[in-house]
Symmetry: D2
């Protein structure tokens, strides 16, 4: 028995839940989870996530085909996923290791249901950590003045479904984004839209804030401006110096990044303009 997940969005219109449910039922499907959200009743936008089982085996292609016909009059966009097929997540990381270590640990414990085809870093020192887990490690000495994006693209190849920038400190160019053309999830160590750019904890310290945060978001051309998937916060006081903010922040970064990845690989995230629907 196969479980599928359908993510669909379109202009809101009458009877769409009923039509979709009926469509799936008639093809032998049984909806086991439904999540739906509309931005507004009149002239709103409609989002749905359906998890359903199909009895037969070879039905996925047929289903996708008939879905294409079905959604055409609705002008809907949809994606159909096989729930039990793990996504392939490429990891890029600079020197800070806390997000990388968390990802590897959870992956090994089977608490993060992804494949990790490789870890790429511009910090050679991560090799030992990564190879302990028998995951291929690539050192690419990218720096601000030479980002070596072609080399990155060559390693990435067709091996991934998405990338997780797990504290990768170099901006990816528009050219890279176009060439890769799949989703990239980043963790920013500040509570966006505050504290963009570098040294967000230093900014937070000098601003005298009483709350700090971390933000996981999709990467777009604009630095630290893509749709936000998850944010984490913690209270701080005057006693917290820069080292304390960094230390407390690491927990937030791990939490926000893992939450975002988990939502993404469970197919619970829909992008809409500069926002996300996270079911």
């Amino acid at each position: 028995m196969n479980t599928y997940i359908l993510l669909l969005q379109c202009k809101d219109q009458k009877g769409i839940v009923a039509k979709l449910s009926d469509f799936i039922f008639k093809r032998g499907g049984n909806i086991i989870t439904a999540d739906q959200y509309s931005t507004d009743f009149k002239a709103g936008h409609f989002f749905i996530r359906l998890e359903f089982v199909l009895d037969g085996l070879a039905q996925r292609d047929k289903l996708e085909e008939s879905l294409n016909l079905f959604v055409s009059p609705l002008r809907a966009k949809f994606s159909l996923y096989n729930k039990h097929k793990a996504l392939r997540m490429g990891v890029l990381v600079s020197k800070p290791s806390h997000c990388l270590a968390e990802i590897l640990y959870l992956w090994k414990e089977q608490e993060l249901d992804v494949e990790i085809p490789f870890v790429i870093s511009n910090f050679a020192g991560h090799r030992e950590l990564v190879e302990q887990y028998r995951i291929p490690f690539h050192f690419v000495p990218a720096v601000k003045s030479n980002r070596k994006e072609n080399e990155l693209l060559k390693i990435i190849g067709a091996k991934t479904d998405f990338l997780a920038l797990s504290r990768y400190m170099l901006l990816l160019s528009k050219k890279f984004l176009n060439a890769y053309d799949k989703d990239i999830i980043n963790i920013h160590h500040g509570l966006l839209p505050s504290f963009k750019g570098s040294n967000p904890y230093r900014q937070a310290l000098s601003g005298g804030v009483k709350v700090i945060g971390a933000t996981s978001h999709f990467v777009t051309e604009k630095l630290d401006e893509g749709p936000i998937i998850a944010q984490e916060v913690v209270s701080v006081s005057h006693r917290d110096g820069l080292m304390d903010l960094i230390r407390k922040g690491k927990n937030l970064e791990k939490k926000a990044l893992i939450d975002a990845i988990r939502s993404y690989i469970d197919y619970r995230v829909i992008k809409h303009n500069n926002k996300t629907i996270v079911f």
Copy 2:
């Protein structure tokens, strides 16, 4: 145009989402919000909340009738509500006034969409506060040794859809619960199941806990044991004495009780055994 809300629960079974959606669609309904949850795929329990509009006017009775026929083979329980008809909430309160004041303020600001037919208290001093809002106030000098439940029932009469115990410090008897026979929401000033009974903050203080909480739950015969609807927590330290815990706790109590009431009057709460589904 009328908006209805259907809460339905039954044993999980194949095609139920599709059947329900189809049922509503065929009666001229348009589902605008769907929330669904199943405890487990095999032999699980199924819960759904559907918000839908019907074009015609006099359709509610007919709809309820056909729903009765429809759900019969599913062995489902359901309730059908008119979204824009405010529920009538009777308020019982003892001396502490913070929850009462919050309810009255939010009600006046139209942030709590209920009718309040009366406030009953065993503390006479609330009269002025309540009558400022032109809400009938009843002083019933109930005490532990004489709970005056018949008097309470007489005042309550048929005026309410549910009761909110907004820090009412007397236990309601099984007899009262049977006679009233509708939902009663209570706020307990402790993080259940810890600190049942009286003086939960004193219990928390002497236990040296670093987190305190408040719990809003449905009332059952067993003291402080009904299904939990909402809980709020806050960190405390050794510096917090009893007065600090009480003061911090009041914010939690207000928040948990209002959250629970809001979920309830939006028809987002389903009781199942000793738990709640809160959509």
Copy 3:
């Protein structure tokens, strides 16, 4: 027996805690609470809050005098307060009433130990609420194009120790700040430094953030930039529309403003550059 509170700050230097403790001890004082913080050992800045009792009666003036002599070589700034003398807090408020209602309720319940000599509003509708508490209410029809600051100053006179802007929506000019020349605490309905200026919840909504906040800070000439005293945050999701953000935000605003006021009137706040030490 009188309880005093000493707030003192200076360049950090050797033996300062011992000298101060000794100074107070020799004048018949007994330190009952000490809080101290230094930004850094070398070339750092030193802050202390001492709560102490003095046996005699008329000693405050003498103590202040000798403190002046004592701190002179330390180049310290200090303030000496009588713990049990309530501060006088003038309240300015525009149309939103939630912070005002919270302040008045807590004040009446003796949970906010201030005197409130008046409430000034540019919204006439608050008169009934305020006068219920037998607090003088002044309607000053200030608008953006005519802030009527002279009228404000005339009402304020010498009646206050500080002001609480409890959602007062007009900027106070530099001239006003200079004329008033005491502390002014503001509540901003956004998580500064994000979302300065007007409509912060609308900004948050369009930014697609997953956390919103409120900030209480001292007022300076620069809009929404004074030293932050307290911040509160809450998670939000795509389901939260503008009305939800506003509703959730009101709880944050009340909490952050009351926390800030409480810290301030307990003499636990020291300003230092653009930051606060909150003991």
Copy 4:
């Protein structure tokens, strides 16, 4: 230059802060951080943490000696620590690895300033993880019916200053506690005093709570009843099944245990009856 930390507690009494400050000053010490707390002014209990530098080298023993003389009339208990001497923390752990992995990672990153003389486990599978860090690993096949406490004590020997039970699932006997006779910090995967004993997440699930937690506390003879050092909480909903509670709980356990350890090794924890003062 040496930095010392003094933790001292006694019945509250007049002039104690001044006397202590003066005492340290006269021995060439400079207090750089002072934290103090009294339970109540009259007949209360007094706690202080002083961090101070001494110019000379061989002064620690002399200081301890004169402290002994000094505190004798105060009937005070005190401990004197060398700030820069790392404590030795023995680790005991059963099968769940998340707390162990976090401890080892932070230790390696120099974010947890302890020495780890060994890890003991009744799960042999942790050997590889532990030995990667070049820390001695001891497999002791303790089970409920045979806790092998003598073997544990033999390995522990005099190698530790305290123990961290990082999800060690066997109760330690009174005999063991007496023999070891130093502090033992435990992490319990429930929000004490709720959910003592085994399977706290299952208890939480069946209780239908909306908040779960984890508790780090000192071990005493009574199961899950020692003084609480740190607690962490997170909201859950009906959608969270047992696996979700366990997964979310792991983050809480790591956070609470690390916070407790950090407070302890910074000498910020004082035990008093069944509670803790955590400066």
